[in-house]
Amino acid sequence: MDLVANNLSYKPDDQYYLNEVSFNFKEGNLYTILGRTLSGKTTLLKTIAGLLTPDSGEIEFDGKNFLKVPVWERNVAMVYQQFINYPHLNVFENIAFPLKQRKIDQSVINEKVMDALKSVGLVGFENRKIQELSGGQQQRVSLARSLVKNAKILLLDEPLVNLDYKLREQLREEFKNLFSKGLADETILIYSTTDPRETMELNGEVIVLDEGKVLQVGPAKEIFENPNSLKVAEISNDPPMNIIEAKILDNHIKFEGIDVEAPQHLSKLTEDGLKIGLRSSDIELNENGHEFEVELAEISGSETLLHLKRGNTKIIVSIEEVLNFKIHDKVKINFKINRAYAFHANGKLASSPFGGLNG
């Protein structure tokens, strides 16, 4: 049972929320929609759920026109980024709600709800009020409510974004377990997120969305290794990939007085306006490197993010240890230039170290 969309567009005001979005989702697979905030992720999920009607385009599910099916008959489930539950019902009643709606036998309901509670680790919380739960527990209740339905399409709209770091890690692990447990055998799982790491960890088919447009579709590894444009490279890396305006002359990359030998995959590129892309993790501190000035140093978890500047070139370097720097300190860095990407002036990928469009 495939979910196929053709040229979905939604433009409620003068901006496109969805712009000619097409996809072909197959049952039993996990699809990750990666995009920044306001890129149209929620709009797309709501359109699939039936909460929004696109201005143009078609959605077919199981060969039938999905747009003619009202939301309440679509058999989809959705988890929101806010923890949406029914505040007037307790945990058990919340999870049982979609089943009661289907007029299922009470004993079957009890059994299914207990199963769902078990799979999200909330056994013993049946009679709690929603207001008495922590954010993570509330989100588990909404997850349980969406699991209990055995929906053919399960939509998860940035389900971890409002949780704190530790809970996020924990729930993400549980998600992966749930997804791999065969839940997904006949379900289409659609997971939206702004977080590239989450995308890579879930390791599903990735749809990169920006300003309502699909930029690239492919397995997580492919998106990471061969982003097809500057935009995708920015969206699929956190911190975003460093973009450096450089010239390649005589097999050397030149910018801001720096001169490094071009690796083989970049050596044939000679055009003007070329942009070099380098991940923040592919730059390292090195005594013999090039001098940059520290603009800002942030410590996040166990790594340090250095915002550096030289002339008009600004880059971000992530270092896998906690280091203290002052603003205006001078540091010396080295580029792992054989990991560099090159993009044409129009933003398209020119060459990647992993062999995409080797120029």
């Binding site: 709501k46 759920a49 039936g50 909460l51 009202p70 939301v71 309440w72 008959e73 679509r74 989809v76 489930a77 959705m78 929101y80 806010q82 923890f83 949406i84 539950n85 029914y86 505040p87 007037h88 709600f97 979609p98 709606q101 289907r102 009020k129 929603i130 207001q131 008495e132 739960l133 954010g135 509330q138 909404s142 409510r145 339905k149 409002n162």
Partner: protein, 282 residues
Amino acid sequence: MNKLYIFLKYFFIVVWTVFVVAPFLWALTTSFKDFQSVNGGVTYIPWVDFEPNLEGWKVLIKSPAKGGVDIIEPYFNSLFVTCTASLISIILGTLSAYALSRYTFKAGFVKNNDITFFFISQRIMPPIVLSIPFFLFLSSINLLDSLTGLIVVYIVLLMPIAVWIMVDFFNKVPREIDETALIDGCNPYQAFLKVVLPNSIPGLIVAGMFCIIFGWIDFFFAFILTFTEVQLLPVKIVALNSSVTPWWSLSASALVSVAPLIIVAFIVERYLSKGNLSGAIK
């Protein structure tokens, strides 16, 4: 500093309590007085200051032929009109408020906010402006001096209150809750009845209370739109006031007329502190 604060706090609480309670105590004692005790100087304590009697209360239930003013029928008329009009206003008002909160309406330059304002504007007009149209309207459909006519007029007056309060309330109920209900298999009507409404009980109570209060205390329209067949309590109480002001029966009737509101207030207070929306979104 702290002691001063506590002193001031209790001082103002006591002053305020005296302000609120004194008129009730005054009315209560006066209602048990007779002509002599009322005119014989300042007296407050029954059996010590004056000899209590039930004359003031008896007047309220005696028939006019025996010199009384029989408020029993107007009392039940008032209860019936207020409750029916409030109930219908709440039902219609809640439905329209939900529509105004969740759906977008457009007719030329008229949008949702304009429609909401249209409802409120009915309350902005001075009642006297509405009295003549109402009178002519009711007389043209033969409902002057009838309970049905009064109910119709009160619905017009009370529904804006319900709409106004409930629009604001529904706007605070996250739309995602409705959407989740739809996804969970409810059609829009079920989503409203099973999910949105149970989470809006505090709002319903506030709106209901305002409707009941405004309906119950209205004198103006009850006075203008009724003559002899039907009378409401406020009008009847004013009718007590003849050449000699009978303070004792006026006090008794005043107490009787605020009694329902006091009961409503006590019930409502219980519910209001209970329900809240926290936890819907965190």
